[in-house]
Symmetry: C2
Subunit: 288 residues, 2 copies
């Protein structure tokens, strides 16, 4: 029997807990707020930003939004970031990716102060993660960890394969798993025998962008499979895992959609709340 992990349900629980803490913070005069920045009119990006803003409002937080034209210059985007960075009502800043090719995305991301970096993508946040210092972690990998925790999967001493070593998921996730005491193998496009790497492991997390990459030949019976991939097909959304073929083999598996996706937005709310709480702490520590 393969259990389908209900990411939507876990995400709802997290969002409800966030909303409670937001209500408390609001009562103390520290209402958290997220500023989303969308450059251009890419339909997928617009959908993602709208979903994030809706979740922020539903959690009772303030929704700041800036929409810049597709041809906005580096300086224009930088100016918006600087303005939001200086605004004490803005707890977190999210620059929706990808950006147009004429913009230097890395430089713009690094302009976000580490204290407001709710996507956890700045060099400063990466450094804090690498050194195990307090900081905001990227949303999708921390959503994966939350999902494993919520399902009661013991990570300490577990063997985990991370398939895909991208900046958004694989790299930070492998570090988060190691901090939790998992033995971690990272596989990627240059891995010569992927099945040999994944088959002995208790948990396989797949974030490659290669549709249907993982099948029964890669999975130990009873293993937990986390599918971070998302692909639009004529038949609907599908992931990096051939989920139907793993039925009866995997112990637990995340569906696409409804698995990791909802957790990513939930963790964005957690990060925005966290940033607001740390800012309030900071304010309390400094005499007026």
């Amino acid at each position: 029997m393969t259990t389908t992990i209900n990411g939507a349900s876990h995400a709802r629980n997290i969002r409800a807990r966030v909303a409670e803490r937001v209500a408390r913070l609001r009562h103390d005069g520290h209402l958290p707020g997220l500023a989303t920045i969308l450059v251009g009119d890419d339909p997928a990006s617009a959908v993602y930003v709208a979903a994030k803003r809706r979740a922020i409002r539903e959690a009772g937080m303030r929704d700041f939004h800036r929409h810049l034209p597709q041809h906005a210059t580096q300086d224009a985007v930088a100016e918006v970031i600087d303005e939001l960075a200086a605004d004490p009502d803005v707890s977190g800043i999210l620059l929706q990716l990808p950006l147009a090719a004429h913009l230097d995305a890395a430089a713009l991301i690094d302009r976000i102060p580490v204290t407001k970096d709710v996507d956890g993508l700045t060099t400063a946040s990466a450094g804090r993660l690498a050194r195990g210092e307090r900081g905001l972690r990227p949303c999708t990998p921390s959503g994966v960890i939350e999902l494993l925790d919520a399902e009661g999967i013991e990570l300490k001493g577990a063997c985990v394969a991370v398939v895909g070593w991208g900046e958004l998921v694989g790299r930070p996730l492998s570090q988060l798993l190691l901090r939790r005491g998992a033995t971690v193998t990272v596989a990627h496009e240059f891995t010569t025998d992927l099945a040999a790497v994944t088959r002995p492991t208790d948990v396989v997390v797949v974030a490659t962008g290669v549709r249907g990459l993982i099948g029964p030949e890669h999975v130990k019976p009873g293993a937990t499979i986390i599918d971070v991939g998302i692909h639009r097909t004529p038949g609907g959304l599908t992931g990096d895992v051939r989920a139907a073929e793993l039925d009866g083999i995997a112990g637990r598996i995340t569906p696409v959609p409804g698995g990791v996706g909802p957790m990513t937005i939930a963790m964005l709310l957690v990060n925005t709340l966290q940033a607001a709480e740390w800012a309030a702490e900071q304010e309390a520590a400094v005499p007026a």
Copy 2:
């Protein structure tokens, strides 16, 4: 037949190449210099610092050194770092570790400007490594990579086990190996079956601080074994690997001493030179 990797010889080659580039820089008026900071009188630390200073002078670079008393305050050490940070003749700053317990080592390390962080241990350098940006990498892990390159070991597609996930070696090394296209497994104290993890791999790098941890049961015949451990025993220096037991099993193995150790100092010279070259570049780019 097991080949003993001659780290001392590889290190000599690197140091000779560094000395040539130093001579060129000196000719252009950009003589590199390293500032070592030693706090207290720990004999082992004194020996390490003396060895680094000797190597710096032998490469033709300037040797700046500050010796502070054991009871030096946080502010006193910070002041010395700030002074060296502001000195244009100082290309690199090395704060010898470990520091006395009354000092906040992480805060002092992070005071070193990223451009002079020749140990690669600041949060900023860790972030640059994590994001794959230009920067100075920690000396021991980059020494391990140089050693593997010098021995002609192909890393792209190779399976590598990193045993030990410490801040100085395992963490940065696993990222350097992944950037080179290796499939990397990181094992550590919570790993339940170490032999199962290491036995399938082509290269095993051991940096655990556990004397004699790795033996024949952990090694595939023909694998390359890199021993980063160093332990003082009545019988002399020894490592984390039971090297004698691997004779005839390992394909290549680093000795202790004379394996990774000499490479660490060589890479400190490389980093100091690199910092000086980048500073000269920067100077050339900014109109006087």
